[in-house]
Amino acid sequence: MKKYLTIAKAEWLDALQNPGEVFLWIILESIPVFIMGSLWIANKNNLSHLSVSPGQLVTYYFVVLMTSRIIGFYFDEHAQVEIRDGTFSKHLLKPFSFPLYLISNNLGGKIFHFFSLYIPVTLLLLITFRSQIILPSPYNTLFFAISLILAYFISFAISALTATAAFFWEQSLSLIHAHWMLVSTAGGYMLPLFLYPEWLQSIFNFLPFKYLYYIPAAIFTNKLNFQEAFSSLIYSLTWAISLNIMAYIFWKSGLKRYTSVGG
């Protein structure tokens, strides 16, 4: 356990070195929420047929932004490159589990970002849209926290599956883009899923991506009732377990195929 805490601490200290970059991230992260928040407020008189308030929509994007920073894993591209060029071997020689290394590393960065990024972005957006942000009901607060934890493990498994594809396929870098496209559309990052045509919603319901952003944000904004929120968490748990099992199987069989030359 101590070695994983050390990895998390190292990542945290590394992130501390670049305050200028953190400032830029604050601006970059706030842009989509600012645009979408402004758009829905400017068109608030046209929302009556959607049974949703401008406050719910502004809060939706705010929660999606925060969720994306909390559950995001970005190791897949780097891992794919290392698997292809053979430099991945260095991770296999180290005295710790590579998946646990990734999680420790990720959490170390997240702790730093919590103070340097989440709090300033939250304050910035609360000042800009203070009259629009809504808060969840007490049971939705609990459900939201659970949905975030489950989304974290779904996100990890999807990134791990994308990374392990490099063991089997030369052009697997394109899968990273396929991953982001699906997250943007079917995950509800770009637009809340209830705005999509019904036929598209029914396709998205069969995929795990909506449990990454849409479900946590819909729970937070009180868009789902108790029954809907509860059943969504059950589905989310099922996806989290099954995707992580799949990632583990692919990881093990990929390692058997992996070869590299030199040191």
Partner: protein, 242 residues
């Protein structure tokens, strides 16, 4: 272009992202009658302009700006500063990414489609498109270059090259959706509102064609300011030599 399979793959990725961007506005406008007065049929035109400018930003500028920020960090800028040519020009034209060709095709298609559904057929409209694209490229180039130039004051700003391409998203929306202060900024200091919606307003007959000349003049002024800013920033550059 040396790796055809790679080129085809990344072109397909670019095409899919373009389609997703258009799908986003389509779905948005299936739920809203218009965005601050702009219907889907009309919004296609500014989206076409922004798409073409976006292809320039990602295909021509991005790799060069990423490398510029890295050179500042590593102290490798000396190599370009010591050459007997304009350093700003050299640093802006080192790489060209052809994977963005689908974006050019999609942007051109959007303009063509926008012209046909809005019955825009006068020959002068092609001249308007040409001037608008040249001006848009000038403004995008200047703002992007100036934003990356700020890295000369910092020890390390490795994500500075991502700032402008992300802020270009503002140009996809009519400035009327933003609060008054932001709207003023996007029409003057950071003229994103001019890139897509000003030429679209002119083409749709909502604004005078004379405004196009002010757009062109603004672009020229911005290019000149970027040149002055670069020379000013170079005074703050120091390296341990390479």
């Amino acid at each position: 272009m040396a790796y055809p399979q790679d080129f085809l793959l990344w072109s397909a990725v670019d095409l899919l992202w373009s389609i997703i961007n258009i799908l986003f506005f389509r779905i948005l406008l299936l739920n809203l009658p218009n965005i601050s007065g702009w219907t889907f049929n009309q919004i296609i035109i500014p989206l076409g302009f922004v798409h073409l400018i976006g292809a320039f930003v990602w295909g021509v500028m991005y790799s060069n700006m990423k490398e510029l920020a890295r050179d500042v960090n590593k102290g490798n800028l000396d190599l370009y500063l010591s050459k007997p040519a304009n350093s700003q020009f050299l640093l802006s034209t080192r790489y060209l990414d052809f994977n963005l060709l689908p974006s050019v095709v999609v942007g051109s298609f959007l303009l063509w489609y926008g012209f046909s559904i809005n019955n825009i057929s006068s020959p002068s409209s092609l001249l308007i498109v040409l001037i608008a694209l040249i001006s848009g490229v000038g403004i995008a180039y200047s703002l992007y270059f100036m934003s990356v130039t700020t890295s000369l004051w910092a020890n390390r700003l490795q994500n500075i090259q991502d700032l402008f391409p992300n802020t270009l998203d503002f140009a996809k929306y009519p400035s009327e959706i933003f609060p008054v202060v932001t709207r003023f900024i996007f029409n003057t200091i950071l003229p994103f509102a001019l890139i897509g919606y000003l030429p679209a307003n002119i083409l749709l007959g909502k604004a005078s064609s004379w405004l196009l000349l002010s757009f062109l003049a603004t672009a020229l002024i911005f290019v000149y300011i970027s040149h002055l800013f670069w020379n000013f920033a170079l005074r703050h550059y120091s390296s341990a030599s390479s």
